[in-house]
């Protein structure tokens, strides 16, 4: 590890010092290919983000891959229903590591305005780990770009070893997430306890 101070000094002298860690993080942060996966209203704003006015392509992220195998980022753009939730988890399982998830919009975070619905999943983080949440109904394209940059910052800050390393470098971490079953009245189980402990309400 190069001392941060020394690195800045060397940078002034025109010597570029980098580490494997930085290069690795730079690589995966600069080339995040989202999955072409829209769920509901937010999907239209996600498409608008890639269009000429907002142009997500500037970040190198216009390569929307329809196949989950080739995608790095899953943007949960909209309401996840109980009928769809098993498919979302399955798609997430099909993605190759390193993979990231952005929960876009109120519905993906908590069920949003449709929270009272009998067929609406109250937040996708009940089943899969989410990296960035964006509030809004739907969030504006700028918000999605902000989320994208937040994700990049998050990747940048990840060390490759020790505590706080990315999940795919942690041999003990969960790789495949159990797909919920569609039961007679509800999904079974109603949440993945390993990912989402039942929250404690504090007032």
């Amino acid at each position: 590890m190069v001392d941060q101070q020394l690195k800045i000094e060397l940078g002034k002298q025109g010597v570029l010092v980098t580490t494997i860690e930085e290069l690795y993080n730079w690589g995966r942060r600069s080339s995040i290919w989202p999955m072409q996966f829209g769920l509901a209203c937010c999907a239209i704003e996600m498409i608008a983000t890639t269009m000429a006015r907002y142009d997500l392509a500037r970040f190198g992220a216009e390569v929307f891959r329809p196949s989950p195998r080739q995608a790095d980022l899953m943007i949960i753009s909209g309401t996840v229903t109980k009928k769809m939730a098993p498919q979302v988890v399955r798609l997430y399982n099909q993605m190759a590591e390193p993979r990231y998830v952005i929960a876009m919009g109120a519905c993906a975070i908590s069920g949003g305005p449709f929270k009272q619905g009998y067929n609406v999943l109250k937040g996708i983080d009940r089943y899969i780990p989410v990296d960035v949440h964006i509030p809004g109904c739907p969030p504006r394209p700028e918000a999605l770009i902000q989320a994208f940059m937040t994700l990049q910052k998050k990747i940048d800050a990840q060390p490759l070893t020790g505590e706080g390393r990315p999940r795919h470098l942690d041999a003990a971490a969960q790789g495949e997430f159990p797909v919920p079953e569609q039961g007679e009245h509800d999904l079974e189980p109603t949440s993945n306890k390993g990912v989402w402990p039942v929250p404690v309400v504090i007032r």
Binding site: A40, E45, P113, G117, N119
Partner: protein, 395 residues
């Protein structure tokens, strides 16, 4: 042209034979069928829709649509909240054109209560409704071309224009997509003179955009070869299956609710209803293009004639809004077809029954009929030409 009335003898005869079921396809020879589940995650299903296909080679032998992946319980929620509180939910039905959804719901409630709408509010509704229609048709054509494999260019062109219209919506209602603008007996906020000027400017730019769009697309041989003669929908079946909107008019049936019901103030505007003669994908595409041009004509008239005055029925009640017991069905010509709301009031603050008549869902009834015997590539194209939004299909 074959109007349904003219062919009603034909209709009756065929009906006895049970023709309104999709024809039964037989695979060639002993071929083993390949069962493909297209969706719910598939790049061309506009969201979470699934088609269970049985293929013989690439020929479609069977197609069963599967719905419900975006069933968000809109109707159940609306029955538990007040009349006004369902208004924001209607935005999220067909999330590309929220304003026409607002309009249909407001119209149904106005029918239920007998409220009057001031003239200025009616003009604002027409302006917003037609702007919505233009941006919906433009983006639906963009998505259709995306399905056809054009790597984004037509969609980008469509969205460029859509953003201008969304800016108008945003400056008026405060939201790009989920406008929540109409109220029972009027509208929420008044338009300013500056907004009207901005709208005039945008509308003045629209014909140029459509010309550009048509230059890029309509005469393209590949587009013609892909679209013409594909996904033919006969007018008899279209009427019987309750298909509405540009899809029905693409099949040559003259049925535009703006002309039939004269709801709002549509009888004041001069506009024509384009009709296709072949009922294929190309006709649906062209009907949408031509409808955009007619919408511009309506917009020009409305923006010129808009009167002053109030935008809200003075007798309209916001708090303690309890319609008398009864029921009403209100419908409008939404960009995708007939969007109706059916409300039953029991005198309480909430509707006793709240039902959305979704054009997208009912237009999909004929999907199997149109797709059988064609190619996988045609299936996505036909599906795209139906122009659905899953929020409305599954509600």
């Amino acid at each position: 042209m074959t109007t349904p009335a003219a062919t009603s003898a034909f209709l009756r005869e065929k009906m006895e034979e049970g023709w309104n079921r999709p024809p039964i396809m037989e695979p060639d020879g002993e071929a083993e069928l390949l069962e493909v589940a297209m969706g719910p995650h598939h790049p061309s299903t506009h969201g979470v829709f699934r088609m269970d296909l049985a293929l013989d080679g690439e020929r479609v032998i069977r197609l069963k649509p599967v719905f419900g992946y975006l069933h968000r319980n809109h109707e159940k929620i609306a029955e538990g909240v007040s009349y006004l509180a369902s208004m924001p939910y209607t935005d999220r039905l067909d999330y590309i054109c929220s304003l026409t959804n607002n309009w249909a719901y407001a119209l149904a409630v106005e029918k239920l209560t007998g409220q009057e709408v001031p003239e200025r509010a009616e003009y604002i509704r027409v302006i917003l409704g037609e702007l919505t229609r233009i941006q919906n048709h433009a983006s639906s054509i963009g998505f259709l071309l995306q399905e056809m494999g054009a790597s984004g260019t037509p969609l980008m062109y469509a969205f460029k224009e859509r953003e201008k219209i969304l800016d108008l919506f945003e400056s008026l209602t405060g939201s790009r997509m989920m406008c929540n603008y109409m109220r029972f007996g009027g509208c929420r906020v008044d338009v300013s003179a500056a907004w009207l000027d901005a709208a005039r400017k945008v509308v003045a730019g629209l014909p140029g955009f459509i010309d550009e769009f048509e230059n890029l697309l309509s005469g393209n041989e590949i587009l013609m070869a892909r679209c013409q003669g594909v996904g033919i929908l006969r007018p008899e079946l279209a009427v019987n299956a309750g298909v509405t909107g540009p899809m029905l008019r693409g099949s040559g049936v003259n049925y535009d609710i703006r002309k039939i019901d004269h709801y709002g103030i549509y009888d004041r505007f001069r506009f024509r209803v384009p009709l296709g003669d072949h009922g294929d994908v190309y006709d649906r595409y062209m009907v949408r293009i031509l409808e955009m041009r007619e919408s511009i004509a309506i917009l020009n008239q409305a923006l010129k004639e808009i009167p002053g005055g109030s935008i809200m029925d003075p007798k309209a009640k916001i708090r303690g809004f309890r319609p008398k017991p009864g029921e009403a069905y209100g419908r409008i010509e939404a960009p995708k077809g007939e969007l109706g709301f059916y409300l039953i009031s029991d005198g309480g603050p909430n509707p006793y029954r709240y039902r959305v008549r979704p054009p997208s869902l009912i237009n999909l009834t004929v999907l199997e009929d149109m797709c059988l015997g064609s190619n996988v590539a045609d299936v996505v194209l036909i599906f795209g030409s139906v122009d659905i939004v899953l929020g409305e299909v599954d509600r």
